[in-house]
């Protein structure tokens, strides 16, 4: 029993905890939870709690034996929302095989493996996401058109706004769970909000995003509204993305920073961006994993549908934010493809792998995109060598199938499961008869 675990056991006694929720994430990024009583916790720390993985997306059939969920005591938190009642705490778990080795099906392990590889090269990987989501009125049936709770726009301050109260409550609750919020505001679409989390190492951040989604849903419920992270719920308005700022540190030094270089981006930073761009298409199925993700990606506006980078160019896929003097440590690159409904563990892992590949192989960074990439013609884009990202889940999966980079990063098991699941999603989607067809075709044909 180590000190951390003792601390958890002591807190549980002091705070009269009745239930401990053990959290983990399936391959598609859905949060899973097993509740145990505090009495079982000591065993859980020592050996893990056994469960049958076969019922959970992506866990089945790795190894015949059961799996073990072993809580990470560093992630111990009380759950502050009312629906849980008093005295409930949670911890994230690592999933193990019965012999104590990490399970290859655990997305958290996928990210840990990628981070270990970065650590072997001397790097620590930090991320900082800007998470967008919608608030809708409650009580709609699936299939109904969702109704936003307000008609606000970008940065609008709405008097007596639901959204305002909501954000304050959400932020309070996030902070009470140890998740620092940097920034929050109303976004461009009605009912759309954005909350930016303060940067953290990628594993902590992935855990935080999982917590974030749950907190937002819970607070919405308490406020009588419904929160959704669906990438594109309203056809006529921009979708919800998760622009994510990435940086690599070597000890205390930001390796992307080089004073005097163009945009203060070092050679290593340029190679990292080149890696993100060269492997952009094959990792898209992971960063944008749903049929609906492609409606956002190809919905125009500022969505980053083309493989390009730029400085303050909000149509580029990778953006280098404005450099603030004396803030060398803050040098970073912003990837704008991700959406909020991704599995953050897998998404961070593939982004890191793509960037590291660029560093390892010394990729050259292509020319910067200076124009609004959307406004260029196809011919111009071809002349500039700007490729398009996959236009659909089908295309993304087809590209990913051939990617050794993704296979090695995810491990063969998750890679295969993910592909099969997403192919099936595409098949299911393709059989739909959509409102588009009913509205346009039915009257005429």
């Amino acid at each position: 029993m180590n000190r951390q675990e003792e601390f958890v056991l002591r807190s549980i006694e002091e705070r009269d905890v009745r239930f401990v929720r053990l959290w983990f994430t399936d391959v598609l990024g859905t949060l899973k939870s097993v509740a145990i009583s505090p009495a079982e916790l000591e065993t859980a720390f020592a050996e893990g709690i056994g469960f049958d993985g076969s019922a959970i997306e992506g866990f089945a059939r790795v190894y015949e034996a059961d799996m073990l969920a072993k809580p990470d005591p560093a992630t111990f938190q009380m759950l502050p929302w009312r629906t849980e009642g008093p005295g409930t705490a949670r911890m994230f778990c690592d999933l193990l095989n019965t012999d104590g080795t990490p399970s290859v099906a655990d997305p958290r392990y996928v990210l840990q493996r990628a981070l270990t590889k970065a650590a072997d090269l001397g790097f620590t990987f930090y991320t900082h996401p800007e998470i967008e989501f919608f608030l809708f009125e409650q009580g709609r049936k699936p299939g109904d058109k969702p109704v936003p709770i307000d008609q606000g726009g970008y940065f609008d301050h709405l008097p007596q706004g639901h959204a305002h109260d909501f954000r304050r409550a959400a932020i309070t609750m996030l902070e009470s769970m140890g998740i620092s919020v940097e920034f929050s505001h109303h976004e461009a679409a009605p009912g759309q909000n954005e909350i930016d989390l303060r940067y953290a190492d990628a594993l902590t951040m992935a855990d935080n995003i999982m917590t974030f989604r749950t907190v937002i849903k819970e607070v919405a419920y308490e406020h009588g509204v419904f929160a959704s992270f669906m990438p594109k719920p309203l056809m006529e308005y921009p979708g919800s993305g998760m622009h994510t700022h990435l940086s690599l540190f070597e000890g205390d030094t930001n390796v992307f920073y080089e004073p005097g270089a163009r945009y203060q981006i070092s050679k290593t930073g340029r190679a990292f961006i080149a890696g993100l761009l060269r492997h952009a298409a094959e990792i898209t199925a992971i960063t944008n994993q749903w049929v609906n993700s492609y409606k956002r990606l190809w919905g125009g506006g500022e969505a980053p549908a083309f493989v390009s980078w730029g400085h303050n160019n909000s149509s580029a896929m990778v953006r280098i934010p404005m450099y603030k003097p004396s803030k060398g440590q803050a040098t970073r690159v912003e990837v704008r493809t991700l959406d909020t409904a991704c599995n953050p563990y897998l998404a961070f892992a593939v982004l890191l792998a793509a960037g590291l590949k660029g560093i390892e192989e010394g990729y050259e960074l292509p020319d910067e995109a200076e124009d609004d990439v959307w406004s260029l013609t196809d011919g111009e884009r071809r002349a500039l060598g700007i490729d398009a990202l996959p236009t659909s889940l089908h295309e993304a999966v087809t590209v990913m199938e051939r990617s050794d980079l993704v296979a090695e990063t995810l491990g063969e098991h998750v890679f295969d499961y993910f592909l099969r699941n997403k192919r099936q999603e595409w098949v299911d989607y393709r059989t739909q008869v959509t409102p588009f067809e009913l509205e346009r075709l039915l009257p005429r044909l």
């Binding site: 180590n2 000190r3 951390q4 601390f7 059939r61 790795v62 190894y63 015949e64 034996a65 095989n97 019965t98 012999d99 104590g100 080795t101 290859v104 051939r402 050794d404 296979a407 090695e408 491990g411 063969e412 098991h413 295969d416």
Partner: protein, 1028 residues
């Protein structure tokens, strides 16, 4: 002109051991030594010359002595007269001085530079750690840094002379070793204390704000240091007035303290670096030794100094098993004693809980492998420290037992190897005699190492090779007659003893736990024995203990032999993939063969036999099963040439002999099966110990299957002829298809066959008198033989049956089992379907009439190597059939990714791709006319039909799938259709195909990757997809 006087003295000096008596005489006649050694022609009795004759290297000592006297002549007179006095009288003072100068050129050099230090040798006395510290700290106090560094080196070496003097003149170097090693560690600690003082002065007033202490690790921590080695340390640092043990992130003052702590760490790092420099920097007075702080948390990447709390939180969260093992030696050596003690109070308890950590067993096994590896081959013969049975192996093994048993037994928690060894013996954890042998051997080898290092004060662990050096080494160890040979002999005797270290330390005591001993004899308790078995990798320690008891119980000769064998064999089982199964199988085989004379004799006397048996039994349940049924097969392990692959002719001859011994078909065939069982066992053993590669295993298994079928065919023919009362009248032949035809059988393969008979040409024009029965009768007789053949092979027996699969025959399941050659001809001319021609690519006669075999091959060659290749229609048929098989043939519940034969990128994918290439191109590329997959692939690559990369991907996937299938059967004793989904299976199979222990999951990943790549090639080559 030879001077008779000179030659008398000359001879006397040579007898005393001087290598160069002429030079010695010249020196001894030097005025400053006048009268001390030689009186005219006579050697003074009890004089200097005789005293010199007693040291390791008299010439060296004499030269050093002359240099010393010259040095003293230049300085004040009092020393010179005192030294002359000392040299004149027999006594310890003279002996000590000469011993030092005769054993160490480095210390002789020091004396030449500092002649007044001679008294440190002459008047040597063992100083306590406090005294040593006082001397060295005194030497540096109040000096500028540069001067202090020189003073430290001079004072250090002066004390070293004293230690060496006592060591070299001790009655027995082996007895003196612990005292010497302790004094060396104390001297190193004293030097660190002095360096701490130097560092403090260098840091200046800032040093007042921090507390810094030095923890000794390794041999310095264990107070068992060498003359020259890196000194391992860890630095602990705190701000002055720091609350120290106030902890936890809730501490309100945390931020303020954080700043103070950060400043303190900066100062502490500066200070600690100064300490390291003070010891390691080379000045005009040389250097002491490198200070190595790499054992600290995070190793070389980590900060040089940490607070107690930071150390503790690291060890709680991140530390590896080896770090706890290293901490076992931790002790305060310099600086702030109170701080060190607080550190040790916090850290030490964790050391003794280390064996309860998860992965302890795996970590320990990995550590052991590291200890045993990494000896450069050309040094291996001369190494004292590294490699199996080296000093480090002894130390490591003792520490491991301390960690395992010290958790519940405080008496084992010593930092010093020899003390720990004694405590282990006192507690009954190892046998007293074994402990005594190891104790003596360890001391001897360490003493040797000391003498070797002392000569030039170099850090070396290699035994010298030149005769002169060996001679000096031998004499310094007190060997007088032929010292150069004697030392090698003595050294190798100890090395042999230490090589049996693991059985002495780990395994033999396990026997005592179950033995009936007198009540007063110490023994391992069953609980401790179980702890130890678990730490060695046995998953069911109770069961293992029972087997050990059963094997060694009793007073019989068998039990007595087992008691000597088992400690060694347990070690081999423990390093196998399944130690428990290995031990259990060994018990069963031994129960069966215990009283058979050759069995135990073979294990005891036949070099590799016991090790191979242990290795095979702990890696292969299949081998264990075969051996349980035919225990006598174990004999091959001891026979000369027993592990050589047998040719097809040899197999046929053995089986024919077996057939000939019995009249009854049932008995005769049972004899054939016994031969088959033994041959399978032989192949498994050769496979497991890596005497055969994948393709050779395939050939060997194919030969066994073909011979068995051939013998069964003979027997069946014999039976039918007996019944008919006349010869059959037609020749029979078996064609191997699939893996049998390809020479690629696996352990679990069925034999795919087609059967052909041919009466030969009828004698022309004499048909009425032709005694030959008509065609229908011949067909009936052939069918009878085939029925008998199938019956024989299908008789279920104790070993895996050899299934005969005849589904590939013309008309498939609806066709007759056997056809005449003519019937084949007319069938193929009219009806040959594409799939049948594809199947014929792998057809090769394996048993029966050789002329008929040639005729059959001539018949099918044009079908399988068609001049125009395949038509687009035929190619489409093959592709379509394959696509249908992919969706239909996969067994229920099997995973398409992991199924070895029918899965994506599996065996079928590769084989069909190769077969299509053969059908299309074998007509013009002769190399493709083979029934085997890999040779065909190589030929296709050479002919440019596939690229090198494509051939590599296909070869890799096919080989790995085949290897896993073979290894799966060997490991489990049951066929393995898919990549193992059980972790222990994956580990066992992984080890068999050459992966390191614990890499099972990685093997699965590697297979899936390889198969995925192969499938991409199959999509291109077989299905004609556009290349990616």
């Amino acid at each position: 002109m030879p001077n008779p006087r000179t030659s008398t003295a000359h001879a006397a000096l040579a007898r005393l051991g001087f290598h160069d008596p002429a030079r010695a005489e010249r020196f001894l006649r030097d005025p400053c030594l006048a009268g001390l050694a030689l009186e005219g022609e006579d050697v003074v009795v009890g004089g200097l010359a005789q005293a010199l004759g007693a040291v390791a290297d008299p010439d060296l000592a004499l030269l050093a002595l002359v240099r010393l006297m010259e040095g003293l002549q230049r300085s004040s007179g009092s020393h010179l007269s005192a030294l002359t006095d000392a040299l004149a009288r027999p006594g310890v003072a003279r002996d000590r001085l000469l011993a030092v100068m005769g054993a160490s050129t480095a210390l002789a050099d020091h004396l030449a530079a500092h002649p007044e230090h001679w008294s440190s040798a002459a008047d040597a006395r063992r100083l306590s750690d406090r005294e040593l510290t006082a001397v060295l700290v005194d030497a540096v106090t109040g000096r500028e840094t540069a001067a202090a560094l020189d003073a430290l080196r001079v004072a250090y070496r002066r004390e070293l002379i004293g230690i060496a003097a006592l060591d070299l003149t001790a009655p027995s170097p082996v007895d003196a070793l612990p005292d010497t090693a302790r004094s060396l560690a104390d001297l190193a600690a004293a030097a660190l204390e002095a360096a701490w003082v130097i560092g403090r002065a260098e840091v200046g007033p800032d040093a007042d704000s921090v507390r810094l202490s030095v923890i000794g690790m390794g041999k310095c921590g264990g107070r068992e240091l060498n003359y020259v080695s890196d000194v391992d340390v860890i630095f602990v640092c705190e701000p002055v007035g720091h609350p120290g043990d106030a902890d936890g992130p809730t501490d309100a003052a945390g931020d303020v303290d954080g700043d103070a702590e950060a400043r303190a760490m900066t100062v502490g790092t500066h200070w600690a670096s100064a300490i390291m420099r003070a010891c390691a920097t080379a000045t005009a007075e040389g250097t002491l030794w490198p200070v190595d702080a790499a054992l600290r948390p995070e190793g070389k990447q980590g900060p040089l100094v940490r607070t107690v709390r930071s150390h503790k939180s690291y060890y709680e969260r991140w530390a590896k098993t080896w770090e706890f093992q290293a901490l076992l030696k931790a002790r305060h050596v310099a600086g702030d004693r109170e701080l060190s003690e607080r550190y040790l109070d916090e850290i030490t308890p964790m050391v003794w809980q280390a064996s309860a950590r998860e992965n302890f067993v795996e970590d320990v096994q990995a550590m052991r492998r590291r200890v045993e590896q990494h000896v450069p081959a050309r040094e291996a013969e001369r190494q004292l420290k590294l490699g199996p049975g080296g000093l480090r192996d002894v130390e490591f093994s003792v520490q491991l037992l301390q960690l395992v048993h010290g958790r519940s037994d405080d008496s084992l928690r010593s930092r010093t190897t020899l003390d720990a060894l004694a405590a282990l013996a006192d507690g009954g954890y190892i046998g007293r005699e074994d402990a005594a042998v190891l104790d003596e051997a360890y001391r001897f080898l360490r003493a040797m190492e000391h003498r070797i290092q002392l000569h030039r004060l170099r850090r070396t662990h290699l035994v010298p090779t030149s005769d002169d050096e060996l001679r000096r080494l031998g004499r310094s160890m007190g060997l007088t007659s032929e010292p150069d040979k004697a030392i090698v002999e003595q050294w190798q005797r100890r090395a042999r003893e230490v090589r049996s270290l693991h059985q002495r330390l780990f395994y033999r005591p396990l026997l005592s736990a179950v033995a009936r001993l007198g009540a007063d004899e110490l023994r391992l308790t069953p609980a401790a024995a179980e702890e130890r078995l678990a730490a060695l990798g046995f998953r069911d320690p109770k069961g293992a203990l029972r087997h050990i008891e059963a094997l060694t119980d009793g007073v019989s000769r068998t039990a007595a032999i087992q008691r000597t064998l088992l400690p060694v064999m347990l070690g081999w089982f423990a390093s196998g993939a399944d130690p428990d199964a290995g031990l259990l199988a060994f018990r069963k085989v031994s129960d069966e063969l215990g009283t058979v004379p050759w069995y135990l004799k073979m294990l005891r006397d036949e070099g590799d036999a016991a090790e191979r048996l242990a290795h095979v039994l702990s890696s292969s349940r299949f081998a264990a099963q075969l051996l349980e049924r035919s225990p006598t097969s174990a004999q091959i392990l001891g026979l000369p040439g027993g592990l050589r692959r047998r040719t097809r002719d040899q197999l046929d001859a053995t089986m024919a002999a077996a057939l000939a011994r019995y009249d009854s078909p049932a008995e005769a065939f049972e004899a054939v099966r016994t031969v088959r069982r033994q041959e399978l066992f032989r192949v498994i053993v050769m496979d497991v110990v890596d005497l055969l590669d994948l393709e050779e295993v395939g050939h060997a298994l194919t030969d066994i299957a073909a011979s068995t079928i051939g013998a069964a065919l003979q027997l069946a023919t014999r039976a039918v002829e007996t019944e008919l009362g006349e010869p059959l009248g037609t020749a029979l032949m078996v064609v191997g298809m699939g893996r049998l035809g390809g020479g690629e059988m696996s352990y679990a393969s069925d034999a795919d066959v087609m059967l052909v008979h041919d009466p030969g040409p009828s004698s022309d024009g004499d048909s009425e008198h032709d005694p030959r029965p008509d065609d229908a009768e011949l067909q009936r007789r052939a069918s009878l033989v085939v029925q008998e053949l199938r019956r024989l092979l299908a008789i279920s027996g104790p070993e895996p049956a050899l299934g005969l699969d005849v589904d590939l025959r013309p008309e498939g399941k609806n066709g007759p089992l056997v056809r005449s050659l003519d019937s084949y001809r007319s069938y193929y001319e009219r009806w040959a379907a594409t799939w049948e021609r594809q199947a014929l690519v792998r057809a090769a006669p394996v048993a029966g009439d050789p002329d008929l075999a040639a005729a059959f091959v001539a018949l099918i060659d044009p079908l399988r190597y068609p001049a125009d290749g395949l038509t687009s229609h035929e190619l489409r048929d093959i592709r379509r059939l394959k696509a249908r098989m992919e969706s239909e043939r996969l067994p229920r519940g099997a995973d398409r990714r992991t199924h070895l034969k029918l899965g994506t990128g599996g065996l079928s994918d590769v084989e069909w791709t190769v077969q299509v290439l053969q059908l299309q191109h074998a007509h013009e590329v002769p190399g493709l006319r083979t029934t085997s997959t890999l040779p065909a692939l190589r030929a296709a690559c050479e002919a440019g039909l596939v690229t090198t990369e494509q051939a590599q991907e296909l070869t890799a996937a096919w080989s790995m799938a085949s290897a896993i299938r073979d290894a799966g059967m060997v490991w489990r004793g049951r066929a393995m259709e898919s990549v193992p989904s059980d972790l222990r299976d994956a580990d066992g199979v992984g080890r068999l195909i050459g992966r390191a222990p614990g890499e099972g999951q990685a093997m699965v990943d590697a297979y899936l990757r390889s198969a995925r790549h192969a499938r991409a090639v199959v999509d291109e080559l077989f299905y004609g997809d556009t290349p990616r």
